[in-house]
């Protein structure tokens, strides 16, 4: 069987508050995501979907369990090595865009390039903005002068500029109106179609529908793992696209 691009083994994350026992946001989650998949993590707020995404994207460390990216165990890496993984392997898109204020679109996209040893930042940044369909005449505009949809395009370009294999998006349409949301989801779909693995956190069923696989979370566990025929999936190893039924994956069965 093909090796998974992202693999989680018995991940748990406990948030400690001072001297209390702590809150378990994630309770022993295991999953595999293959290269080229478009996965949506859905669930109510507090279900642990963002926590899971942060762990998979190396933004946070699990309390127990391990994350394996592209066959490489990353949970034990030091801060510098994790920073390099975040820089090269993954790209993040956030709900609130997280663009630097009073900084041009172009410079915002250049940000991840700063932490490489490249000298030319402008070239790849322009390219990334063009890929996401950001209008060239606005390259030097500041976030405050851009619409929400345009800001999110800049943020996606920033996530893509180092050409990472995996794109993580946490409620990327949460701050957008419905037409902008559709455009952004179309962009994610297009990026996935070109081979990029996309992991998207959302509580919006309409958004989740674009994904080829939907993982539903509840109380820190994955309660269902469904293939979505109408959604997108570039992966060869995805669940049978013809199946109309919802088929829980072996991982989900473990959780149940």
């Amino acid at each position: 069987m093909e090796q998974a691009l992202i693999e989680a083994r018995e991940l748990s994350r406990v948030y400690k508050k001072d001297d209390s026992a702590g809150v378990a946001a994630l309770k022993g989650v295991s999953l595999e995501i293959l290269k080229g998949e478009f996965v949506a993590l859905v669930g109510a707020s507090g279900s642990g979907k963002s926590t899971l995404m942060n762990l998979l994207g190396c933004l946070d460390r699990p309390t127990t369990g391990s994350v394996i990216l592209d066959g490489k165990e990353v949970s034990g890496l030091d801060e510098d090595a994790l920073a390099e993984v975040r820089n090269r392997k993954v790209g993040f898109v956030f709900q609130s865009f997280n663009l630097l204020p009073r900084t041009s679109a172009l410079e915002n996209v250049e940000l991840p390039l700063l932490y490489t040893d490249r000298s030319d930042l402008r070239g790849p940044a322009r390219e990334a903005l063009e890929v996401v369909g950001f209008p060239a005449e606005r390259f030097n505009h500041h976030p405050g002068e851009l619409s929400g949809g345009q800001q999110q395009r800049v943020a996606i370009a920033r996530a893509l500029v180092n050409d990472p294999e995996i794109l993580f998006a946490d409620e990327p349409t949460g701050n957008l109106d419905s037409s902008s949301s559709e455009e952004i989801m179309a962009l994610f779909t297009e990026l996935n179609r070109r081979g990029r693995t996309v992991v998207l956190v959302t509580h919006d069923a309409k958004v989740a529908r674009h994904a080829g696989r939907v993982l539903t979370m509840q109380d820190g566990q994955i309660v269902s793992d469904e293939a979505n025929a109408a959604g997108n999936n570039t992966s060869q190893a995805s669940n049978d696209p013809g199946a109309d039924r919802q088929t829980p994956s072996p991982n989900a069965e473990n959780q149940a």
Binding site: N54, G57, L59, D60, E79, D80, A83, E84, R86, N87, R88, G91, F92, F94, N98, L100, P101, R102, T103, E107, L111, P112, L114, Y115, T116, D117, S119, L121, R158, N162
Partner: protein, 412 residues
């Protein structure tokens, strides 16, 4: 991360919040301005001291009547306290003995002066130092003569009543009239103006060396002051390197001549240029130290301001820090960014402070007439101190920023 990108990021970070940057700069700017003004004034004062020492003459020493313990002594130049000389033991024969016995001495110029005297011409009068001197006086002081002749040996032998006067005296007594050949009164004794001195400038003590009346030593002692003792003897040494040895020889000679027992306090003092330099520098040093402490306090306060604002800046920019970490910044990149910002802001503040300090120098010079000297050391000190303050002030905020966990920083 590349160095040039790091600097660019720091400058952009500072540019993004100009008001904050300005406040941080202002504190350092004040400190560096004070530092620049103080150091320039110090350098200027030092230069002036050296100039005075040059005027005093590097190859000369001075024997003063009156020991270190004598209460009233003759003022040094006119900068000291003009008092009535009470020590009567330094004689013209002592000067002769030095000339005869001290081989390292090239020229010996004994002189007498009793405080300031009143010189008058017609209805004008001017109170000024009057010196009884010998021809050697001009040699040991390298004193220029403008017109006529200075005091001669013949004037002393014949106890002539002739005078050579300085340009300030000429101006005060004669205005635009020609003083040559005119009769002036010094303490009621008439003297004929035989010579006019050239411009000599300011003395080591700060006095106007052009306000001088010179008359023959013997005439002065017998007819004006009615004394039989000298105020001092100026000695020019043959070789600068022998200065201290000659001083020691003269000391031994005079102690012997004055029958001083070993350990008995001397009734004369010998000053050398080194001693004068040391004395004035010690005085200046205390003053400079005080001002440098003031500048230091200003810099510390500026540093505390920078450290505080940087801390606020770090917590305000949690999201930015989290984002940078999320896109691949290592803790050391974050630390470097904030350190670079704090150092950049203090360096800019320092450069602005140096600029303001130069303006301050001009104002100081204009207001007080104190000489200021802006040297490369002053500029280097400004740059060095402002950078150091930036590094020290930024250390803790930068460390705190680097320690933030990316996911925590992003959540806020």
């Amino acid at each position: 991360m590349k160095k040039e990108h790091m600097i660019g990021q720091a400058l952009r970070g500072l540019n993004r919040n100009r008001l904050r940057t300005f406040f941080m700069m202002a504190g350092i700017m004040v400190g560096i301005t004070v530092l620049t003004v103080v150091l320039s004034a110090g350098m200027g004062a030092r230069e002036r001291i050296m100039e005075r020492v040059r005027v005093f003459g590097l190859e000369n020493l001075m024997v003063w009547a009156g020991g270190p313990t004598d209460q009233v002594r003759l003022g040094q130049g006119t900068g000291g306290t003009p008092g009535v000389q009470v020590t009567t033991t330094l004689k013209i024969e002592d000067a002769q003995a030095i000339a005869d016995e001290i081989r390292g001495a090239r020229a010996i110029a004994p002189f007498a002066r009793r405080g300031d005297s009143e010189a008058s011409w017609r209805d004008r009068s001017y109170t000024t130092p009057v010196f009884g001197v010998t021809p050697e006086w001009r040699d040991v002081w390298d004193w220029p003569l403008d017109r006529g002749s200075f005091i001669t040996d013949h004037d002393n032998q014949s106890m002539s009543r002739v005078a050579a006067i300085g340009p300030t005296v000429v101006r005060e007594l004669f205005g635009s009239e020609d003083p040559m050949g005119q009769m002036i009164q010094v303490n009621g004794v008439p003297f004929e103006v035989a010579g006019i001195m050239g411009v000599k400038g300011t003395s080591a003590g700060g006095g106007d060396m052009d306000a001088r009346v010179f008359v023959p030593l013997v005439t002065y002692m017998r007819r004006v002051a009615n004394v039989d003792y000298l105020s001092g003897i100026r000695v020019q040494v043959r070789d600068l390197r022998d200065m201290e040895a000659v001083a020691a020889d003269i000391n031994a000679l005079l102690r012997e001549r004055h029958n001083l027992a070993p350990g008995e306090p001397a009734d004369f003092r010998i000053t050398t240029p080194t001693e004068i330099t040391a004395m004035v520098e010690e005085m200046q040093g205390t003053f400079n130290l005080f001002l440098i402490v003031v500048a230091g306090i200003a810099l510390v306060v500026g540093g505390v301001v920078v450290a505080n604002i940087m801390l606020v800046s770090v917590s305000e920019r949690r999201k930015e820090i989290g984002l940078r970490r999320a896109v691949g910044a290592k803790p050391r990149d974050i630390r470097g960014q904030f350190l670079m910002e704090s150092t950049g802001v203090t360096l800019l503040g320092g450069i602005a402070g140096i600029g303001l300090g130069i303006v301050g120098n001009l104002v100081t010079k204009w207001l007080t007439g104190t000489p200021v000297l802006l040297t490369w050391q002053v500029l280097a000190a400004g740059v060095l101190f402002s950078t150091a303050v930036g590094v020290v002030a930024g250390l803790h905020p930068a460390r705190r920023a680097a320690a933030m966990a990316p996911v925590d920083a992003l959540r806020s």
